[in-house]
Amino acid sequence: MQFKDYYAIMGVPREATAEQIKQAYRKLARKYHPDVSKEAGAEQRFKEVGEAYEVLRDPQKRAAYDQLGKGPQPGEEFRPPPDWGSGFEFRGASAGDQGFAFEGDPSEFFETLFGRAGFGAAGTRAHHGHGAARDRGEDHHARVTIDLDAALEGATRALTLRVPAVDEEGRPHLRDRTLNVRIPKGIQAGQHIRLAGQGSQPGGAGKPGDLYLEVQFAPHRLYRPEGRDLLLDLPVAPWEAALGATVTVPTPAGAVELKIPADSRGGTRLRLKGRGMPADPPGDLYATLQIALPPADSQSAREAYRALAAAIAFDPRAGFGG
């Protein structure tokens, strides 16, 4: 098991005051909050920081953690000492209601030391609806990554979700659940599919909750979705861009002929109206011209380049000045 240096994660010295720890937490939580940060790995960092704070904010947990010292040498396995936790009263007792609780699991390190129940209010607060929600089951939320083609065609996909469940002994765990879902044609990234009645079944005769699937797309071979629009890189030969041409362009609804105007530059965007996502109204498809250079890998190709150089007085670096 990997030892976690909660002080290093929070960026505070071991003798930091409760106030300093709180400030450090707030700063890091703002920085790495998954709804705010676009940094890669922000969610992971946010969870780490949250876990560190969960320990360091609680005087009991912090004192117990401090007794472990600085952990094993790098690369060494950490094992909790045999007398771990004696004299402390954190097992099962939640740290109270204010502040932090997030969705997700604590690290193995945390769980070994403090147990799952010591993990903030997560799993209790997040899963108990109040008031109006009580007579029906919980709604579930999941994020799913699907291929863009499914949304372009309105195809059915088997989606595997990890859903919280409770075993015979009442312990929470995650269970895989596979659903065949018709992907609504034209759905966009960030939108949700609602499956009515596919959330939790409440105890008793209540109505089951709903399941919300937030859609994300895996990278596609051709198209990059932007809302309803699709972006496509369209390679063209230099002479097609220079002289104009009609080229065949793939679109979700089938290939179309696209006219490239003469004297087009690389990076020019050509719009194919209504050829984007098949939503209502449909999006557009934007083809960005990418001028592909033919390789000079034969005698005749090299001669053609030389002839071009001789025929055209062209300085691509004219803008640099003299």
Partner: protein, 101 residues
């Protein structure tokens, strides 16, 4: 479970085909109705005209982000509403930036 796997579920696009009552939204966010009403009062969520104050499906995403910000960062409803508005503006501006490249 084996029987379920052969069934095909057909859902709706929340943002386009679904409207939610205040109670449905509070259920979906697992918070009390009062917390949702608070977000309505701060203008984060704008119910459609009509007695039952139905909300467009995009309200779910806005509400969930605002509630997470309140829970995780200790901001109040007003601050969370401001952040959600600004995040959406950033998304819009970044999308414009990308489309100009």
């Amino acid at each position: 479970m084996a029987t379920r796997e052969t069934q095909i579920f057909v859902g709706q696009i929340l943002e386009e085909e679904v409207t939610l009552t205040l109670d449905e939204l509070s259920g979906a966010c697992a918070v009390s109705r009062e917390r949702i009403v608070e977000l309505v009062e701060h203008g984060l969520l704008e119910p459609q005209a009509g007695a039952d104050q139905r909300l467009g499906g995009q309200a779910l995403r806005r509400a969930r982000i605002a509630l997470r910000l309140q829970r995780d960062l200790g901001v109040n409803a007003e601050g969370a509403s401001l952040v959600v508005d600004l995040l959406e503006r950033i998304d819009l501006l970044e999308a414009r930036l990308r489309s100009r490249r």
